[in-house]
């Protein structure tokens, strides 16, 4: 047991993201602040509701993702795990807010609707690995794998933000826009943590090399690998299809290329995975 008595030594030194403050000010149940009355008279269209349901499924799939992270060395970093506990909590309530939108439109909650079959493309087999293979390969990879997980979290934030922005612009609904504004506000702190942490870790050459090699094999956003092929095809087309969608993917590509230790080649491969 080691203890020390330096009250100045917390996780908030310098400009580092303050995990304790984030945990203390976490935002939970949003039901009372949502304005859902509008939907009774002007319900959202089918495409918009499909996007809402799929985003809800993605937001609520935190425990599967935590499992994949925690079977690796990422579980050893108490600051990262402390963040992830609150991250999962906030996402749980974001998914619940999206469920509230579905219910106000006369639909069941996302988890009460059967999902279709998964997509089984060969190029995604690496990302489909179960916990056993992940745990075994992570032994070899060691602590640098945390950089991969933090960078994946960051890119996931950029991808889902693009989806929410498209959704907000697509539906002519003030209620939906205000719900999404709230969601993006909550998610901005998640992006801030991942960005802060990823940048620090990517400054280590070994961590950057590992991240560059592994991140190009992933399906987007986080958790998509476990979702239905039908939902994924819809999402890819909805967010990244057409000229507008392509522009969104190119903007993400540019941000990835600008991260320390990652280059244009890595960014382009991720963009290729986003665009249908």
């Amino acid at each position: 047991m080691t203890t020390h008595s330096d009250p100045g030594a917390g996780d908030d030194r310098g400009t580092r993201f303050n995990v304790r403050e984030f945990a203390r000010t976490a935002r939970g149940n949003h039901r009372t602040e949502l304005d859902l009355a509008e939907f009774a008279t002007s319900p959202l269209n089918g495409e918009t509701l499909h996007a809402v349901r799929y985003l809800g499924r993605l937001e609520s799939a935190t425990m599967e993702h935590l499992r994949n992270l925690l079977v690796t060395a990422t579980h050893k970093d108490a600051r990262v795990t402390a963040f992830l506990v609150t991250w999962a909590f906030e996402k749980f309530w974001l998914a619940d807010a999206l469920d509230a939108v579905l219910e106000a439109n006369g639909l069941p909650r996302a988890q009460d609707v059967e999902e279709g079959r998964k997509r089984r493309t060969v190029s995604e087999s690496h990302d489909r690995r179960g916990p056993i293979r992940r745990a075994i390969s992570a032994i070899r990879l060691g602590v640098p794998i945390i950089a991969l997980h933090m960078t994946t979290g960051l890119v996931d934030e950029w991808v889902t933000r693009a989806a929410y922005e498209k959704l907000s612009a697509a539906g002519d609904s003030a209620s939906l826009r205000s719900t999404i504004a709230m969601i993006l506000e909550v998610k901005s702190r998640h992006a801030a943590f991942f960005e802060d942490d990823a940048r620090r870790r990517l400054a280590e050459p070994a961590a950057a090399r590992l991240t560059a090699k592994e991140i190009v094999t992933q399906a987007w956003p986080i958790g998509a690998i476990d979702r239905s092929a039908e939902d994924r095809t819809f999402f890819d087309e909805y967010v990244f299809g057409g000229d507008d969608g392509r522009a969104r993917a190119v903007a993400i590509e540019a941000r990835i290329a600008a991260l320390p230790g990652l280059d244009q080649r890595v960014a382009a491969r991720i963009r290729e995975r986003l665009v249908p």
Binding site: T3, M63, L70, V85, F89
Partner: protein, 264 residues
């Protein structure tokens, strides 16, 4: 009675200590023995999220109810860590995340192999393994309640007692979830009963045994679970575990105390 997951998630809060006068510890500190035990409890609470990985390496992560529970459970336990760390902080003992990380980095090979072992076992026995996890979780949460209550009784510090009772009240809701899950799943499968009985009997050890030094485990068990009152608490936990389908007669807590050489 079935566990109402929606009610649980809607009412899950981080444990509160704003109204407690912890400043008083600067003048009237807790004794070293208690601080050492509190430090152990803090580490264990912060570590809870890591146990999620074991639970999730089985088919259980596919179930929405389980995911919802775990999300709140992780957060409540994290805040137990924060609350206890605050008490320690008022004694000049700072527990920060970087230092916890250093402890975890020391865990070594066993820690790296555990998720693989758990996953393999989970895969081998499939859905029945969820029942084992739930029974195991129930045993852990039951012992957490007894540990906090014992600590409150032994320390006789009214402020600490209030905080520990608040934490124990949250643990009681965790017990309700784990036992209702375990009971349902064990009742449905003889194989799950046999498996749970075997695993609990053979492998269960006091919470924290896998992450803390043996000397710390022995200290905490001696402090909280020794003597007639400690044994009485241990028997209470064992009685609750024995009440689950197929677990009749199990005395895993008493057995673990004997194994650690804790005097009755």
């Amino acid at each position: 009675m079935a566990f109402d997951i929606d009610k649980y998630t809607a009412t899950s809060v981080s444990v509160n200590w704003d109204d407690l006068d912890l400043e008083q510890y600067r003048e009237h500190p807790l004794n070293d023995q208690s601080l050492r035990t509190l430090r152990y409890m803090t580490d264990v609470e912060y570590h809870t999220v890591c146990y999620t990985r074991d639970l999730l390496t089985t088919p259980s992560h596919k179930e929405a109810e389980m995911s919802s529970f775990m999300t709140m459970w992780n957060r409540e336990e994290f805040w137990h860590g924060e609350a206890l760390a605050t008490v320690l902080g008022h004694h000049g003992i700072v527990v920060d995340f970087d230092e916890l990380k250093a402890t975890r980095l020391k865990l070594g090979w066993k820690d790296r192999l555990d998720p693989i072992k758990q996953s393999l076992l989970g895969k081998l026995v499939g859905a029945d393994f969820v029942a084992v996890h739930m029974a195991w979780g129930a045993a852990n949460e039951l012992s957490a309640i007894q540990a906090y209550n014992r600590m409150a009784d032994l320390e006789k510090d009214p402020t600490l007692a209030v905080l520990l009772k608040r934490i124990a009240a949250q643990e009681a809701r965790h017990v309700a979830f784990y036992t209702s899950q375990a009971r349902d799943r064990l009742a449905k499968s003889k194989r799950a009963q046999t498996l749970a009985r075997f695993v609990l009997n053979k492998f269960w050890a006091p919470v924290g045994s896998s992450i803390m030094d043996r000397s710390e485990v022995v200290h905490v068990m001696n402090h909280l679970m020794s003597g007639p009152d400690g044994r009485k608490a241990a028997r209470r936990i064992d009685a609750s575990i024995s009440a689950m389908p197929g677990m009749k007669g199990l005395a895993i807590v008493e057995k673990s105390l004997d194994k650690l050489g804790i005097a009755a």
